[in-house]
Symmetry: C2
Subunit: 429 residues, 2 copies
């Protein structure tokens, strides 16, 4: 079954609003075994809407349309569907009563224009909206079943899950399952990841494989389908293990978890705590770590020490180190990591000092240079890296990921000492 | 002139990636006097790409296509254009040399597949990519001029500005100017902003006005066009001043600058420095402040003190305060701000302590509660706020913006004492 998605509205057409609905609908449809072949967006223009409904009806079996169900004169989805079908709009008394009840419950005055939201193309089926005033509807144009939903994401998502997906699943009848398994890697270029897993098709020809750059990570996605859910899960597991063996310790997560969550999981497993000293990453590492719910169990402190005086007075980096080596140096980074670890009483200290740009670079230490320090219970080190991005924000992100990944591999090594070598950071969880 | 936008790639088609490129391109084209009539997305499928190129060529005068210029077999844009044109792909030796030079400069091995990126449909014009390995190209299919750009946003945007926009402007020949003026507000609901600027059309009927929610800010956008650039700028300026007077001190920037940049500009103007103590925002305030180039001139230090011990030992918040009031309290927040200010030797200290969720809330201090502290040279205070978002990341963002906005209004007040009252944070810059 082939599906298309249509987003309507001048806000999206003109770029005032980014359309995140279509991506969400695509993912839900594909997870339910429907191939999405195209997305389209047109504005609040009756003829453009009618044209595109006809076009979609000739190409697709299923279409999901968002937007244009509101009370204003710009909301044209019902009218466009009626024109495309060659039928009248008719008032649905039940829908009108529900809209009246919604306004009463929310203690807001109902305007005359809201009556428009109870008008549907003759012969269509209403789709109730439990969260708002705009009901949707289902109708067939040519051989294509169209589901019209509101554009408000929270309303659209709920109606998609509760009303559209069950109808679509009943269309293809079978109990066929579809699963996507995502694995995340860091530190290898996309071309190298691609080469390493080159033999995949020969081993797992029944599964589909795709690479997805989610900077700074690269995700490997495995797609499978089958009649037996357990058997499908076992096949995906075997394929994920094969991929993990090819990628080695550059595999961040066997389940697509982002780096800060994986690092957090490892710290938790070790009963370890972390303190961070950030210069060039400016708080991004702390922000990413604390974005994980429950991170207060292992994350104690981050010092964002932009000024040298803060590196000296708060982290205790000796003045002599700063004057001898400068702020961006392996030795300074190591001392910063040790200082953060010491003042917070943490198991590990992690630090960054570098040049994110646009200013501050020189011939010896150009923009893109970062020194990362790690202080562990029994050793500490500083390392220098050089990246070639010409953008402050991109540099902050790659610096932060590089630092987190050094800690991740350090924790894996400690794992190896305890449990024997493992592939991937979260295979054991 | 009518334009269409085509996003290509299985990542976008399948919903793995939200397409933000098309919205950006729409805004740029519309700001340059081109009406965007449709966006489309199809996957990495040669026939689908050829079909949609033909369709667009029949409807539009201009088309911008993103994605599909990479080195892999999935990257099909050049091939699809060649098929649609009925021509061969030919190797561009200059493009090949540029790709080789890029890999040499970035000290990475060039793989054989990168050679593919120097192949273009015969008769097309290459568009150089100053930031990456994938050049774009321009060609006409039917009566429509197509601009093919890479999908990487930073590369696409640069090429759009520098190479596509000038070509499009020369197409419509005229010296007609189009300008968008963006004003940013924080702290008022969209409906209140809308009400306050209700009389706009009566005063400035020749300008268009739009609201755009860029959480947590709301931007007011003014669109104008005219033959005289100076006259147009003056009209937009007058309208911006009218809007600013209606919005009052909730106007963050008369030029759409984000809150952290506005706060940074005010600190710089005052010759003041800042230290931050973050608990619930977990480094986000520091990350936002240090995202502004040159922030090292005024940003000295942030302490992300998740653990109470770090609040006590590093910021010097008395144990008694923590045990009497708890971590989330106005008094604790005030002491945190004072501690950050003191240990970093900064002019201002700013702090957050609250509950971002999903856990950690209770009846007295539910998820969404935040206390913000400010320490200024002559006074200090703590204030409590309550938000109703059900999401850790959203709460971190609204907490951080609320804290930065308190500092912004404090700096404006200090401005008022020196320079007399001003409307808006950056009118003086």
């Amino acid at each position: 079954m082939k599906a298309e998605i249509l987003a309507t509205g001048d806000e999206i057409r003109s770029g005032a609003l980014v359309d995140s609905n279509s991506a969400h609908i695509s993912q839900v449809l594909e997870a339910n075994g429907v191939a999405v072949i195209r997305h389209t967006c047109v504005g609040d223009d009756l003829q453009a809407l009618v044209d595109v409904l006809h076009e979609i009806s000739r190409r697709a079996d299923i279409a999901v349309v968002t937007g244009g169900l509101g009370p204003t004169v710009d909301d044209l989805s019902s009218e466009a569907a009626a024109v495309a079908l060659g039928v009248e709009l008719v008032l649905d008394p039940e829908a009108l009563a529900a809209i009246k009840a919604w306004f009463a419950a929310h203690k807001r005055p109902m305007s005359a224009s809201n009556r428009k939201q109870a008008l549907f193309p003759a012969g269509s089926t209403r789709l109730d909206n439990p969260l708002g005033t705009a009901p949707g509807f289902e109708t067939a144009i040519g051989g294509c079943r169209f589901f019209f939903l509101p554009g408000v994401p929270v309303e659209m998502r709920r109606m998609l899950d509760e009303q559209v997906v069950p109808r679509i699943r009943s269309m293809h009848g079978a109990r066929h399952c579809y699963r996507i398994r995502s694995l995340s890697t860091f530190g290898l270029p996309e071309s190298v990841v691609n080469e390493r897993i080159g033999g995949f098709a020969a081993h797992f020809g029944d599964l589909k494989l795709g690479l997805r750059a989610r900077f700074p990570e690269i995700h490997i996605r495995l797609y499978g389908s089958g009649d037996d859910e357990q058997e499908l899960a076992a096949r995906l597991d075997a394929a994920a293990r094969w991929v993990a063996a090819k990628i080695g310790n550059r595999m961040v997560s066997m389940h697509g978890r982002p780096l800060p969550a994986v690092v957090g999981g490892l710290l938790r497993r070790h009963g370890a705590t972390l303190a961070v000293a950030e210069s060039c990453t400016g708080g991004l590492i702390a922000h990413q770590l604390t974005g994980v719910a429950g991170s207060s169990d292992y994350f104690l402190f981050a010092g964002v020490t932009y000024a040298n005086a803060a590196k000296r007075d708060i982290l205790g980096v000796p003045e002599k180190i700063l004057t001898t080596y400068g702020a961006v140096h392996e030795e300074t980074a190591r001392r910063m990591a040790e200082g953060a670890r010491r003042i917070a009483g943490a198991t590990y200290g992690l630090s960054t000092s570098g040049i994110a740009g646009p200013g501050g670079g020189n011939a010896e230490k150009p923009v893109g240079t970062v020194c990362i320090g790690l202080a562990a219970p029994r050793h500490a080190f500083g390392r220098r890296y050089r990246f070639f991005y010409d953008n402050r924000s991109t540099n902050k992100r790659i610096f932060a990921a590089t630092a987190l990944d050094i800690l991740r591999r350090e924790l894996l090594k400690a794992d190896g000492e305890i449990h024997g070598t493992e592939k991937g950071s979260d295979t054991g969880s």
